[in-house]
């Protein structure tokens, strides 16, 4: 990046709250239903209907606020944001404007070994709009109001990020947090976690911010980084070629990897916010905050510190294992059930388990080998029943079926051979069959030792105890 310019980024993230029903009606929030089957009279904005606040959404917003050590407003107000759009049934969106439920808070991100604190300006509750469907209607537009009224928490950061990488780190951290708190499923494909980015550049050392552009609705971590980097480049090019950045909303096109103008400031809506007279102000008492605080889980940062201390993990493994609550739970269940060394558990989960999940495109919650079954396998490594190498073969079989490690070891005859007599006999045979290699080794070629190990393992179908093999070979091939 051009070092003469400093980049300034702030993010607005819309997290869909995981309530069962909508924020102002009793209709279900489940994703993927037939169009307009989950929209009741209130969601349709029929004449005469009134909103009733879902207390669960309030609870979730407070939970979030407490987790980022934010001020929770004792008194917050819903406001109407007025604009016409076909998928906005009432002609206004119920949101919060002057008095949001969550005030100043912060989130720490780790990047390149350093920790940086990103300010959260506010987080407010609002309802989502429906969807306009432009395909399949022969030039007409279809409206699906299933999503209308789904609760959203809009989380607005300070303009504290200085690179696309920082922005992504912040977004990931927030994503991890809302899932830890179980207030949002974090499903970005279904739009449960969406991001708008405010991007500007300024000459390094300048105190005032440059003019910003807002990039709308970026729905993956990868696209956020690409879209921001593209926008930074566009702005720098523009300024360096004598142009000026205009304040506007831009849309990121992932296919072309570019942003393009949606609407300029001069066309910007005047939303005419005013307090919604249909809803009472939300009052949050200290007692309610305490009640919600008691439901807070161990948060990612604290868990990571504990994993480093308790399990002797390095920073990277601890970060990986605490990246989701379920993964951390899986790991701790494994340590507990295997009764073995935390280090082996760490290696297995960060290596084999996550590798296999990645390959299969699964989440830890969908892992075919649960912690208890995996513990059964690790115990067999610890007690030398099988070698680490055979263990990988057993793990694969466990992944495919329902059997325990012991059943697989038994049925496939994978038990490790530690009988030194049997190993010696094989080694003698191999030494006799390969005089050339023996000569090379004795002549000083260390690498050839591996050839002998491999031959022995091959002959014994990998079941020989590798330590024994090494020991006996060393004695027999004494230089």
């Amino acid at each position: 990046m051009n070092s003469q310019w400093e980049v300034v980024i702030g993010l607005e993230i819309h997290a869909q709250l995981a309530t069962k029903s909508k924020i102002f009606s009793g209709a279900s929030t489940a994703y993927g239903a037939e169009p307009n089957t989950q929209a009741c009279a209130v969601d349709l904005g029929l004449p005469g209907v009134l909103p009733v606040l879902n207390q669960e959404a309030v609870r979730m917003a407070v939970k979030f606020g407490l987790a980022i050590e934010a001020e929770i407003a004792p008194y917050s107000v819903f406001a109407r944001k007025n604009y016409f759009y076909p998928d906005l049934p009432k002609g206004y969106q119920i949101s919060q404007f002057e008095l949001p439920i969550v005030g100043n808070g912060h989130l720490d991100i780790d990047l390149d070994g350093a920790t940086k604190r990103i300010g959260v300006t506010r987080a407010h509750l609002e309802e989502d709009a429906g969807k306009s469907l432009h395909e399949d209607f022969h030039g007409l537009t279809g409206i699906d109001l299933n999503r209308a009224g789904t609760p959203l928490l809009e989380i607005v950061s300070e303009p504290d990020m200085r690179s696309a990488k920082e922005a992504v780190a912040y977004m990931r951290k927030l994503h991890e947090l809302v899932r830890y708190l179980e207030i949002c499923d974090g499903n970005m494909q279904e739009g449960s976690f969406r991001c708008d980015a405010n991007v500007s550049v300024r000459p390094r050392g300048q105190a005032e911010f440059g003019t910003r552009a807002e990039i709308k609705n970026i729905n993956s971590f990868r696209f956020v980084e690409k879209a921001i980097n593209h926008e930074i480049e566009r702005q720098i090019d523009l300024i360096e070629s004598g142009g000026k950045v205009v304040q506007e909303t831009r849309l990121y096109d992932a296919n072309k990897d570019e942003t393009r103008s949606m609407r300029g400031k001069e066309e910007a809506n005047d939303y005419r916010y005013f307090p919604d007279p249909d809803l009472l102000p939300v009052e949050i008492t200290e007692a309610f905050k305490d009640e919600v605080r008691a439901t807070l889980p161990e948060l990612p940062d604290a868990k990571k510190r504990r994993f480093i201390e308790q399990y002797g993990q390095d920073d990277e493994s601890a970060a990986t294992l605490t990246s989701s609550r379920q993964l951390a739970d899986y790991y701790e269940a494994l340590v507990e059930a295997s009764g073995g060394e935390a280090k082996i558990c760490t290696n297995w989960v960060t290596g084999d388990v996550l590798g296999a999940l990645n390959k299969a495109g699964l989440e830890i919650g969908q892992c075919p080998v649960d912690a208890e079954r995996l513990a059964g396998l690790l115990q067999r490594i610890a007690d030398d029943t099988i070698s680490g190498k055979i263990a990988k073969q057993v793990f694969e079989a466990m992944w495919q079926g329902q059997e325990t490690a012991d059943q697989i070891i038994e049925s496939q005859g994978l038990k490790q051979i530690t009988d030194t007599g049997a190993i010696e006999a094989i080694i003698d045979k191999i030494i006799a069959d390969n005089p050339g290699q023996v000569e090379q080794y004795l002549g000083g070629k260390d690498k050839v030792f591996g050839f002998f190990v491999g031959q022995v393992m091959k002959e014994m179908q990998g079941k020989a105890n590798p330590a024994e093999v090494n020991k006996i070979l060393k004695t027999k091939l004494k230089r």
Binding site: G48, L50, D270, F274
Partner: protein, 483 residues
Amino acid sequence: MNNKTIAELARGLRAGEFSSVELTQGYLERIRQFSVLNAYITVTAEQALAQAEAADKRLAAGTADLLTGIPVAQKDIFCTDGVKTSCGSKMLDNFISPYNATVVEKLNAAGAVMLGKSNMDEFAMGSSNETSFYGSVQNPWNVSCVPGGSSGGSAAAVAAGLTAGATGTDTGGSIRQPAAFCGITGLKPTYGRVSRYGMIAYASSLDQGGPMTRTAEDAAIMLQAMAGFDEKDSTSVDRPVPDYSSGLNQPLSGLKIGLPKEFFGEGLNGEIATVIETAVNEYRKLGAEVKEVSMPNLKHAIPAYYVIAPAECSANLSRFDGVRFGYRCDNPADLSDLYTRSRGETFGKEVKRRILIGTYALSAGYYDAYYLKAQKVRRLISDDFKSALAEVDVLMGPVSPTVAFGLGEKTGDPIQMYLSDIYTIAVNLAGLPAMSIPAGFVDGKPVGLQIIGNYFAEDRLLNVAHRYQMNTDWHKQVPKGFE
């Protein structure tokens, strides 16, 4: 039969003097006979007779409520399942509501028989019923005069004996002013006492539904069925509903009445002032003490109201966009054309005027000067009422500065029309309950006495109104030709 009160009809039904079906048929016949008044937008004869039959069964089974079998009219602002709910607008001329308003549910549950949907000013914006898409309503006392508004159809129907009782809604005087103009009893309850769910919103922080009847005793019976907390309306208040009928006869000795001097100043018709003074004297005879009070901020009520109500209505009416229900223009060229023409071709002048005023008042740069300022004024007005009601039990004064004016007389001058509500509007801004009861005549047209009470003191208001009606017969007068 058509000029009996709800209380009398309820006794007649129980005594077997007539059945609810006969009663209903009688009213339906009168509605046909006097259709020229234009009091109803929709008459639901078939449904009414079915409800009446069911009511007769309940009466026979001894499970009847006081309202069971009593014919009522619903202002066409209340959503009624399967029945056109137009709100007096061309926009909703084709709108059949798929659900019942809470008030409708409650009256249905009590066994009341809905005769139909009464005429009203378009979206309840008006003081004469002349903004209705379905045409103006004639005042039974003088058919060349307006019945008042916005609940003009309900008021005219009760006065003409086209129903035993009716629902109304009051945002700035829309129950009390037509009740006064038509010589009937109207009660606007405390904001939050009656659910607004299913009542098409005009100005949400001011709208309140209430009964319109021949007597205070009837108003008590209807309010009993209409009032109560509704979990579907966050602004309804979770507070027990007292028995409104049990305290009606309490003596008024020691009652403290306040007369706000601002209600008796310039602009008030002198003959009306005399009628009000006579009524107050009647209360003195009943043992009340009367004193003058002052509420200096009342003069700001109309300007504050005409910022707040339009601001709220500008958002409330946005849902009428031609997309999901109601009128849609033919062959829209694009989205903007769809919005502009669907709304432009349906909303009347007054509705457009208020949407524009409200949009302007909420716009960036004007919000503080208009909306926020109006809210501050609103607080000052509430405080004025609070201090006055700390000294006295009820406030009394005129409902309207004039009696019913001529049809077409004020339609060209919105300010004159707005001033018609000068004594009623402040009450909505404060959220207080208030009544209008017949207190005399000027030029052969009824005059209403306004009684304003403290929050949730509907029982006291009804008591004060009822004792007056026990000692006077203004409420028993029937317009000529409607006996």
